[in-house]
Symmetry: none
DNA sequence: CCAAGTCGTGACGATTTCGTCACAGGAGAT
DNA sequence: ATCTCCTGTGACGAAATCGTCACGACTTGG
C-alpha cells in the first residue's frame, strides 16, 4: 500500500486530504511545516508527497528544493498545492518531470486523480527505485548506470557490487560485507574475485572520475565525484 | 468503486477471487456458468470480467464471443483463466487488445496485478486502441504496425511481444515477464522461443532503426527510435 | 632494510547466456 | 485436400561473463 506524506500548516486541509487518501486506500503521514516534512520524508521514504507551498516558517518551495537535493528523497514525486497566480510560474520552471502541481482551491477528486496518475507513473514503471549519488544514477530495475546522463554498460555482478558500495557513500565497506552481499559468501574467504571486479568497475568508471577507494586491510569505499567537468587528460 | 464479475463454476475458486478483490477494494458479482454471466454482464455492466474458460454447460470461449458480439458488453475487458496448454492457442487469436488471460494455476497476487493493470488501461484512457511510441504506431484493433506511416506486417505473436515491450519504452522487461505476458508461461522456463521471436521482430524492425536491446541475464528493452524528424514539446 | 601481508593486474579456462538455424507440426486459407 | 504461413523447439556455435591463479607491486611493522 503506497504511503503519502501530506504537508500543510492548516489542519483542516490536511484532514480533508488524508480522509480522501484513506478512502482511496492509501496510508498517509502528516507534517505541519517544511522542516518536519523533510525529516519525515527522509525517515519514512513515502511514495509521494503532497506539499503546500504557502506555509509559515519554512517555505514550501525551499522545502521542495531540499527534497530534491537529498539523495534519499530525490526520487519521490511531489504534488504541490499553490494559490492561483502566485507561484505558478516559478513552479513550472523547476519541475523535475516526476512532479505535478494543482491550484487552490482544488476539488478532492481532482487531487486524487493526480495522486493516482503520479503513483502509476512512478511505481509501475519502476522509476522509483533509481538511486542517485552525485552525478551517478543507478537504475535498479534497468540494471543501468548513467553518469551525467551518459549510459555506462555494467554487467550484473558489477552493478550489484556498485549498488552495495553506493549504499553508503564515503563509508568503507568491508571485504566480508561485499562478498556477502554480492556473492553470498558467508565465510571470510581469501579470494581475488572481489579485487578483480573492483578493477573492472574502476576501468569503466575512471573516465568519469575515480570513485572507488581502497582501504587496506578493511575494504573499499565509494567516493562521490569531487570535480565534475574535469575532463581534459588521458594517460 | 469498480465492479468486477467473476465467472467460474467452482465455488471455491470464485470465493478465493472474490476475497482478494474485496481486499483490494473492488465490488464483485458472481456467476457460475456462461449464460448467467452473460445476462449479468448485460444487466449490471461491470467494469471487468474474470472468466474461466473451462466450465460445463456453456463454454467460456463461447461466452467470451457472446460478450464480444453484444454492444452492451463489447467494451468490457475480460481476463480469461485457462489451464496450461489447453486453449491457449485459440485465445491468442481472438485477443482484442483490451483483454488478458492468465494460466492456471495462478497466484492471487498475479491476478490482482492484472486486474489493476487492465482497469487502469480501460478506465483511465478510455481504452485507446492505438499506441504511439516515437515513430511507431501500434494499432491493437487491427493488429497492425506503422512506422513513419509505413505499414509493417507482423504476426500476432510478434505483435503481442512488441506490445509488451512497448509498454515501457527504455525499461527492461525480464524474460519471465515477457514469457508470462505473451505466452502465459507461469514458470521460469528455459526456452529459445522468446529469442527466436525477438530475432524475427528485429529483422522486421531493423530497417526502420534498431530497436530492441538485449540486457544479458535480465531480458530485453525496447528503445525509442532516434527520430530524424523534429519533435515539438509543450506542456 | 627485510619479511610478511595485502592488493592490482593480466591471462586463462569454465560456465552461462544468447543468437541463429533448420525443421516439424498445426492452423487457416484456397 | 493441399498449400502456405506461423510457431515452438532442439541443436549448435558465438559471445559474454565469471572466478581463479600466478605474479609483481605496494604497504606495513619491526
Amino acid at each position: 500500500m503506497p504511503t503519502i506524506l501530506v504537508v500543510d500548516d492548516e489542519k483542516d486541509i490536511r484532514d480533508l486530504i488524508v480522509l480522501n487518501l484513506q478512502r482511496e486506500g492509501f496510508a498517509s503521514l502528516e507534517a505541519a511545516d517544511g522542516l518536519e516534512a523533510f525529516k519525515l520524508a527522509k525517515k519514512k521514504a513515502p511514495d509521494l508527497i503532497i506539499l503546500d507551498l504557502m506555509m509559515p516558517h519554512k517555505d514550501g518551495l525551499s522545502t521542495y528544493r531540499d527534497l530534491r537535493d537529498d539523495s534519499r528523497t530525490r526520487g519521490i514525486p511531489v504534488i504541490m498545492l499553490t494559490a492561483r497566480g502566485r507561484l505558478e510560474e516559478k513552479i513550472t520552471g523547476l519541475e523535475s518531470g516526476a512532479d505535478d502541481y494543482i491550484v487552490k482551491p482544488f476539488s478532492p477528486r481532482e487531487l486524487m486523480l493526480r495522486v493516482r496518475n503520479l503513483l502509476r507513473r512512478t511505481l509501475d514503471t519502476g522509476q522509483s527505485d533509481v538511486i542517485e549519488i552525485g552525478a551517478f544514477r543507478l537504475d535498479k530495475k534497468n540494471v543501468k548506470l548513467h553518469v551525467d546522463g551518459n549510459p555506462i554498460d555494467l554487467t550484473t555482478t558489477e552493478f550489484k557490487l556498485l549498488l552495495v558500495l553506493t549504499e553508503s557513500p564515503g563509508i568503507v565497506k568491508e571485504r566480508a560485507e561485499l562478498l556477502q552481499k554480492v556473492w553470498g559468501y558467508s565465510d571470510l574467504i581469501q579470494t581475488r574475485t572481489l579485487d578483480t571486479h573492483i578493477k573492472r568497475l574502476r576501468e569503466k568508471l575512471e573516465e568519469h572520475g575515480s570513485q572507488i577507494d581502497t582501504v587496506r586491510g578493511v575494504g573499499y569505499r565509494f567516493l562521490e565525484q569531487a570535480n565534475p567537468g574535469d575532463d581534459t587528460d588521458e594517460d
